[in-house]
Symmetry: C2
Subunit: 419 residues, 2 copies
């Protein structure tokens, strides 16, 4: 690294400082040495690095698991670098050419625009808008002609593409891989060519696709291809599976404060430090302090977790909401009493027969459960109480009174108001 020798001592120290910050928590950095070179170039030339993240245009609902990469982006921004957010609208607009996949449904231009707006609102809770650029990859991919597509496809071999984990498994298992699927990594990689990204962030499950960007930059004769910073996949509240909406083990960043507080308190103790490290903006020093405190017993895990819960709510709903949620939590759970205020929900006579209603329909009508089957499951699991008495039979018909308090689990309450 010739550049290194030309730096002043102060600049070298700055490179080391930035390297330490941006490396924190990363599962892998490929190639490791190149990150330091990129930072050295940036500091020597006074040029911010371009740090890329690709976004799925169909799923703008962000949970804490997603924020792992977002916090890493924010660290780069705080160090003066620029973030490139790519909304993969081109891919989304195509859908699945085979028509066989339900998960990759075709998005309209309106869908994409609406999702992009949702992304902005959510992402700016973490990112600095001044240092964030949004791109739609249809801008360059949508204009490509067949000839250019062939040039792109000619950069890679079939064998190399079949090394990607999921392709390898499907090919070995005689499951069909349609040829257009080869283009998803190629398109993601070409985005990096088009935007001349210096660094691309992603979860470890994105390793192949992100390295593709580096390969393609080389094939398109850009020197110093992008560096992959691969972040660990955050386990969800079950402590085992990757956090995901479909598994239900997630904390959404748009969830109500009390819900967010309660869910945060159910994070497994052994994962708490990982959550702190990857999903908050705690400094390395504060993190070290916390770790020490937990180890020598001067910090109680429950208190640390309540602080984590407050940190989340502070970030996504503000300080006041964080304090309110903490008070609510202490009242309801720690004092094992009913909360001060329970939402009053009107129940119309039309929904009753002789003042009676099935317990499952009651739970759904009050908005405590989203479906009859979910409600039934809660009753069977013993999670449903009316006026602090457990309901056992999911088929029971309840005679309701004005002011009855209905409770599901530890955190959901409603007070009935009869009209």
């Amino acid at each position: 690294m010739n550049r290194w020798d030309q730096l002043t001592e102060q600049q070298k120290n700055e490179v080391e400082r930035q390297l330490q910050i941006v490396s924190r928590g990363a599962a892998d950095i490929i190639p490791a040495a190149a990150l330091k070179e990129k930072l050295a170039d940036s500091i020597a030339e006074g040029r911010p690095l371009r740090v890329k993240l690709g976004l799925d245009p169909s799923a703008p609902d962000i949970h804490i698991g997603h924020t792992v990469v977002l916090h890493k982006l924010r660290q780069f921004q705080d160090l003066g670098h620029e973030v490139q957010l790519i909304i993969g609208d081109f891919t989304g607009r195509i859908g699945d050419p085979t028509g066989k996949s339900e998960t990759r449904k075709q998005l309209s231009e309106e869908d994409v625009a609406r999702n992009a707006q949702t992304y902005r609102e959510q992402l700016y809770k973490i990112l600095d808008p001044q240092k964030t650029k949004f791109y739609f990859n249809s801008a360059w991919l949508g204009e490509m002609k067949f000839e250019e597509v062939l040039q792109l496809a000619g950069k890679l071999t079939v064998a190399r593409m079949l090394e990607r984990d999921d392709f390898a498994k499907r090919y070995a298992g005689n499951q069909p891989i349609h040829i257009h699927e080869f283009f998803y990594p190629l398109m993601q990689g070409y985005d990096s060519v088009s935007l001349q990204s210096d660094i691309e962030l992603g979860g470890t499950d994105q390793t192949f696709n992100i390295l593709m960007g580096r390969t393609l930059q080389g094939a398109y004769e850009m020197k110093d291809g992008q560096v992959a910073i691969l972040m660990p996949l955050l386990e969800g509240l079950d402590g085992v599976q990757k956090m995901s909406k479909s598994l239900g083990n997630y904390i959404g960043i748009d969830e109500a404060p009390n819900e967010m507080f309660g869910k945060s308190m159910s994070i497994p103790d052994e994962l708490m430090l990982k959550y702190y490290e990857l999903t908050t903006s705690l400094s390395n020093e504060e993190l070290q302090q916390l770790k020490q405190g937990l180890e020598d017993g001067t910090v109680h895990p429950r208190d640390a977790k309540m602080k984590l819960a407050k940190t989340y709510i502070g970030m996504y709903h503000g300080e006041q909401a964080a304090m309110d949620a903490e008070n609510y939590f202490i009242t309801v759970f720690q004092k094992r009493a009913l909360p001060d205020e329970i939402e009053l929900i009107e129940l119309s006579e039309a929904e009753l027969e002789d003042r009676k209603i099935s317990v499952t329909k009651l739970l759904v009508t009050l908005g405590l459960q989203s479906s009859g089957s979910e409600a039934k499951r809660s009753v069977v699991q013993g999670a449903v109480k009316i006026n602090e008495h457990k309901v056992d039979d999911p088929n029971e018909r309840i005679e309701v009174q004005d002011g009855d308090i209905v409770q599901v689990g530890k955190r959901k309450f409603a007070k009935i108001s009869l009209r």
Copy 2:
């Protein structure tokens, strides 16, 4: 086949007649039953079939091996059908995106236009221009956007593509297959979609690509996909290898009449009937008669071959040229005498030293051989004579006289004129 029952007896006979003619000599027809259906539809609706042939835009130099499919096309035309000739200029204009192949070099628009003109001149010696349409596939492929390319790629799986013989071998042998190569069969197949071809012709080595057209027509929801008529690959003059320019075992249709006659006489006896069947317009009846004559000894093989030679020259140079070439052949070879007229070629003093010149340089200067190494080989093989005396030493320096006759093999002569 419901259509069949609606045909009159006369129409049914016509279907059978056409089927017999167009099936002659075919190595395979896939699917076999569909060809009869296509013909029945055509006759019932009074609609000519669209019979497609793809042409390589880089190699317009046609030899007898290529004419196998052309004669088949001509048979279709004589039965009232239409021929679609596709010049794959789109592929040719792209070249090889990897830049690694020398054989697939990029063609300019001028190259393509010039080659197309050469094709026209050569092909119309066999085809009926009134029933021939030329297409350039850049017309539709050049306009395709990435999105449409993905739709196309989504029609096929990787595993299916890797079934193609050469891909399968290379994949198994760990030789690189670049992803864009998958598009060559897809493009050829898409040509059939675009032109709604009923039938595609090709050599047996084109089986995969032609069936791709049928597959893609189905995927693009055209009913009754095209039928593949696969013609045998014609062995060249060596009787073993496929006729090809690079192997030198070919008869070019633009070759001079005497050359063509001589080469035709070197066709192996056992292949003569195959040549007749596949590369002339002899009717089935005439072919049967010839076969019978050869079997019962009433036709001498040499006479049959001379007739074949005259047939070729008649087709490509006219009847007069055919007769002249025959006379020349009889004079030179059968009577083992020098031909009546030998071309007089001037040799300038500048090319001589003391009236001497090396034998190899002499052969090249007279235009009897195209290179020094070729000339040397001829001498070593004992094929070179000066004034009917064999020259043995390729390094020999010859003292030349005005009027000397130089001969290479049985058919190449030149008379020296000193200036």
